[in-house]
């Protein structure tokens, strides 16, 4: 591996930018997600930024069970993110459907629609778990090459 690729690898690990999407969840995970940005957890010290546009993002954090209405938005947002990208399923809903499992208006779980790299279970997960999941996602991101479709799976508990 050349020095430039090495530098790019370090840079990817040190500056993961997140895009956060709620696909019809109860907002519980989103509140825990916001807690990561507060002075108590302060993810910016690890270079993690929450960005407003999927085109700026490296990591897609999905909360909620993916309802029929949000599926098109989810797919469009995932397609707009430049490679390499990583998908993190935040909470029980995108992992299994949780209490919404079996509902006729649910298209999820998330893995049926997108390749998921990291699962952070919990209802809702604690901010510490979330940060650990994002840190693992950043490592996966740094090892991924441009243009290769994501498909590698890991499990986070």
């Amino acid at each position: 591996m050349g020095p430039i690729q090495n530098l790019v690898r370090i840079a990817r690990r040190r500056s993961p930018w997140l895009f956060h999407l709620n696909t019809g969840g109860c907002n519980g995970c989103d509140i825990e997600f916001s807690a990561c940005l507060t002075p108590r957890y302060d993810v910016e010290q690890a270079g993690i930024l929450l960005v407003g546009s999927p085109r700026h993002a490296d990591i897609l954090c999905v909360t909620g069970p993916v309802t029929r209405n949000t599926r098109a938005a989810l797919e469009s947002i995932h397609a707009q993110m430049p490679e390499p990208k990583v998908v993190v399923a935040v909470g029980n809903c995108p992992a299994s459907g949780d209490v919404f499992f079996g509902s006729p208006v649910i298209d999820g779980p998330l893995e049926r629609i997108l390749p998921v790299d990291i699962f952070v279970p919990g209802c809702p997960p604690r901010p510490g778990d979330l940060i650990r999941g994002i840190a693992k996602a950043a490592v996966i991101l740094s090892e991924r090459r441009n243009g290769r479709p994501s498909g590698k799976k890991g499990a986070e508990s």
Binding site: A11, R14, D42, S53, R55, P82, N146
Partner: protein
């Protein structure tokens, strides 16, 4: 102006070799101070550098209906314009510009802002268009006091060369001019309380919402260079010249960083204003200060009267 001098200014100081690391340092300092003011730890000092490398290594996803040439060209144009503006800065007392370089400097300083207006419309996104409209509106409001202040300075120096403008005018003209330029910095850099055009969480990133990967890296760099150029301009106007290049250069860099710190504290301590409020602020207070400078510069006999 010999070619050696031109290339030194463009490539070494205050050009690329100084400006690019300084841009990253300023972007970091702004984020770090804002974080500290909010009780957070904030990013490590290499953060903007790694952000830039990471973004450069990503290929942007093409957006349907947009012109790839424009989407790639506009951020590069913004970076080059900011670099040329920087190279014109009269840091040393002995630096020789040319007649009229003040006009060129002011024009190039405005190009990144114009590029971002064009980018907002070229990206064909609703957020980009709202951001571009706001940027264009604000550009009218802040340029009126900014240009009036520059005219006052040039009139007082009886010259359109940056070197004369930075050294000649007396204190009673210089003080209101520097105050006006400082007042215009937050809106030119799009930080709070005038972060109207790139209002995060409101219209995402404004004009640059639809740019990704290497295009976004260029926008970030252009923004950093704008920081260096604008704080450098304010530093040049208020800088005491010693004649020793090393001391002059370090005073220039130091004063630029002090201005960055002041701007960061302002940004952390204020909330975003509306376009109308921002316009009213600049047309009332900015224009008042700039007109005071102009009157002081033009009034016949004011020199004798103050002495």
């Amino acid at each position: 102006m010999s070619w050696v001098r031109v290339f030194t200014a463009l490539l070494i100081f205050p050009g690329i070799l100084y400006a690019v690391p300084m841009a990253w340092l300023m972007l970091w300092l702004e984020r770090k101070l804002r974080a500290r003011m909010q009780g957070r730890i904030g990013p490590p000092f290499y953060q903007p550098f790694f952000d830039f490398i990471k973004l450069m290594a990503k290929n942007p996803v093409p957006r349907s209906g947009t012109d790839e040439f424009l989407m790639t060209g506009l951020p590069i144009l913004a970076v080059s314009a900011a670099l040329v503006a920087l190279a014109l800065l009269p840091v040393f007392s002995g630096s020789k510009g040319f007649a009229g370089d003040l006009v060129l400097f002011v024009a190039f300083l405005e190009v990144p802002s114009l590029c971002s207006v064009l980018a907002g419309f070229a990206s064909r996104s609703i957020f980009g268009q709202v951001g571009a409209t706001r940027e264009a509106l604000l550009s009218i409001t802040y340029n009126l006091p900014f240009l009036t202040a520059v005219v006052a300075m040039a009139y007082s120096a009886r010259s359109l060369a940056l070197v004369d403008v930075a050294s000649a005018p007396a204190l009673w003209v210089r003080a209101p001019v520097v105050a006006t330029v400082l007042l215009c910095l937050p809106v030119k850099l799009r930080i709070n309380p005038f972060s109207v055009s790139n209002a995060e969480q409101e219209i995402y990133s404004g004009p640059i919402t639809e740019f990704g990967g290497s295009q976004l890296a260029m926008w970030e760099l252009a923004h950093g260079l704008e920081w260096v150029a604008l704080t450098g301009f304010a530093a040049c106007l208020g800088l005491p010249r010693t004649g020793l290049p090393v001391i002059d250069a370090s005073l220039f860099g130091g004063l630029s960083l002090v201005i960055v710190a002041l701007l960061s504290f302002t940004a952390a301590g204020t909330a975003r204003l509306k376009v109308v409020q921002a316009a009213r602020f600049y047309w009332r207070w900015g224009m008042g200060l700039a007109l005071a400078a102009l009157i002081l510069a033009m009034l016949p006999g004011v020199e004798r009267f103050i002495r």
